[in-house]
């Protein structure tokens, strides 16, 4: 076991897989120099054929990765900025994600898309602060967002080994955090959530950067005797619905805190699932704590006001305990 930062854990997972499997290659802007940290040193270790800087051609290099995957490579594509998925949107959702089915199962597209430093981070402004995973979820792209270094390590392994496209979000606000990471490759399977803190009163579904927020609120409310169960799906698609169901069956109350936009976001999906499948267990309105559905302003007070916070989560939890919509 070594205590690694989240970003180091991603790098270790990538490196371990590259050692284990020759077909793993890395593509992206400035991956040779390792501008984003995940790929530092890999060019030197694995050479020019396996670690390639790309031009600023997101649609082009995502399509390139698809093609390489079709004939046996396992490309890991790093998006330097979260919203760069938009440039390559057709290549991801209309090509890579549909290729297997369209080909009648003849082709597979084992590509991993890594979103480096995703989400907002103190002044990145409207075009660099998105957390665009709901777009991918809607498109049916497998998507994970680890919250801790150990999960970052284990989910990165699974993402690379998966035979479908998998998106991995590495949120800016947490990728400096540390955790114990096993020395031996230990994959965390897709679709298996994790209780971050057990509790019997309210289930709080959180993911990625909202995990520390949820834990903070849980600590605070525990002092009042209110026990939150902080439940981390880790993988947003596939989603461990059974795990959510187990928790909500116990608590009867559900709040979802999520760092993406509100409308048609991940929180909406979890709330909708609960409204259908867990209705009989719910004793109070489901709470959605999300972004404010407005582009993120540069100015810090406005950025903070648009993001989900401990205060809004606490308010929502008190509302659900009082049995009212927030």
């Amino acid at each position: 076991m070594a205590r690694l930062r989240y970003l180091e854990a991603l790098r270790k997972a990538l490196r371990d897989e590259m050692i284990r499997d020759d077909s793993v290659i890395v593509l992206g802007e400035d991956v040779e120099a390792g501008a984003r940290g995940m790929t530092t040193g890999l060019r030197k270790e694995f050479g020019a054929e396996r670690v390639k800087d790309t031009p600023i051609s997101e649609a082009g290099f995502v399509g390139f990765a698809t093609g390489a995957a079709l004939v046996g490579k396992r490309p890991v594509v790093e998006f330097q900025i979260n919203t760069m998925i938009f440039q390559s949107f057709d290549q991801v959702v209309n090509q890579a994600a549909k290729f297997h089915l369209m080909s009648g199962g003849e082709f597979r597209v084992p590509v991993t898309y890594v979103f480096a430093a995703s989400g907002a981070a103190f002044g990145n402004a409207a075009q660099h602060s998105d957390h665009p995973y709901p777009y991918l979820l809607h498109a049916g792209v497998k998507t994970v967002m680890p919250a801790t270094a150990d999960d970052a390590y284990g989910l990165m392994l699974s993402a690379i080994r998966d035979d479908d496209p998998v998106a991995l979000f590495s949120p800016a606000l947490i990728q400096g955090r540390r955790a114990e990471v096993p020395d031996e490759p230990t994959a965390v399977p897709l679709g298996v959530g994790r209780v971050r803190r057990p509790g019997g009163d309210v289930t709080v579904v959180a993911a990625g950067p909202t995990i520390p927020i949820a834990l903070r609120v849980a600590d605070k409310m525990a002092a009042e005797g209110i026990e939150l169960e902080v439940w981390d799906p880790r993988s947003l698609l596939p989603l461990d619905r059974d795990g959510i169901a187990r928790s909500v069956t116990k608590t009867g109350r559900l709040a979802v805190i999520d760092d993406a936009n509100r409308t048609c976001g991940f929180a909406a999906e979890v709330a909708a699932f609960a409204a259908s499948e867990l209705f009989g267990h719910l004793r109070a309105p489901v709470q959605r704590v999300t972004r404010a559905d407005v582009p993120i302003s540069f100015s810090l007070p406005l950025e903070a006001a648009a993001l989900p916070t401990a205060e809004t989560l606490e308010k929502a939890i008190r509302a659900t305990l009082a049995g009212s919509a927030s």
Partner: protein, 345 residues
Amino acid sequence: MSRRGANGAIGLEPELAISLYRTMRLVRRFEETCVDLVKDNEIAAVVHESIGQEAVAAGVTAALGARDYLTSTHRGHGHILGRGADPTRVMAELMGRTTGTNRGRGGSMHVGAPDLGILGANGIVGAGTPIAVGATWAARTDGGDSVCAAFFGDGAINQGVVHEAMNLAVIWDVPVIFCCENNLYAVTTSLSDMTGVPIIERAGGVGMPVTSVDGMDPGAVHDAMVEATARGRRDGTPSFIEFRTYRYSGHHTAEAATGVDYRSDAEMESWRRRDPLVTWPERLAAGGILAAGGKEAIDAEVEALIAESVRFARNSPWPEPAEVLDLAYAGGAGDGFPATTWGGT
């Protein structure tokens, strides 16, 4: 690849010259049959006929080797059949049957075949080009000499991703032959309104060898491809070839119903006079390559094959509704995918 023999005007090995005719005939009759099947609702939606453009498909695919790749377009039957896909399985695909190349999941615009290096036809203009570059690059990392024919139309030249793909091929030495079928139109719009310069200048500006050839002459098409593939195999150079051609039909089988009108009769007539299905066998006959009755024999053989394709497709089973989720993911759509509880079946 067969290079020029000593046959005067034609200049190709007789066998190859004849097989080009056979391919063109197969594609023509296959598509004419498709048009009927669309009318009869035996093929769903529309098909985009390449009738008139067969010489390009035949000439390009004849120049490819066994380990080479191909990406195709919405107007791709010729590419696929030229490359050697089994017409019965392609027809079954177009009729939505489980025996189709894509088990009925793809249809006309998505035919693919790993064993033939056909990395999918594509319904999105230009989208196949970066995929072609990536696949070809990957195939060569273990020392192979694969090349790839990436098809697209004149309209695709204005898609940003095509430009990006061409640049990737240039800087990473990936021998994709960018095969631009210039049939002068993208749906109703005329190429001349949509670009300020000849199409090959656009590609030339990215830094690869470019050439423009008569796309109504399968021999000329083939020769240009032979040159480009040889260069590509040798030193990884990509190429861009403009094939000047024409589609005799509308953009697709439903065009007539929309009432659009954008081509003059004179223009259409002038291109019809150059129909490779007529001119090529005439040249072969004149050059003594195709003996009396030779054409008719090929035509009859093609006819039988088409009839068999339709018969095979009609007799093939439809997919079952219950299979709807089976190919959503390579590992199947298990627990955790909303699909499994969406309640449909």
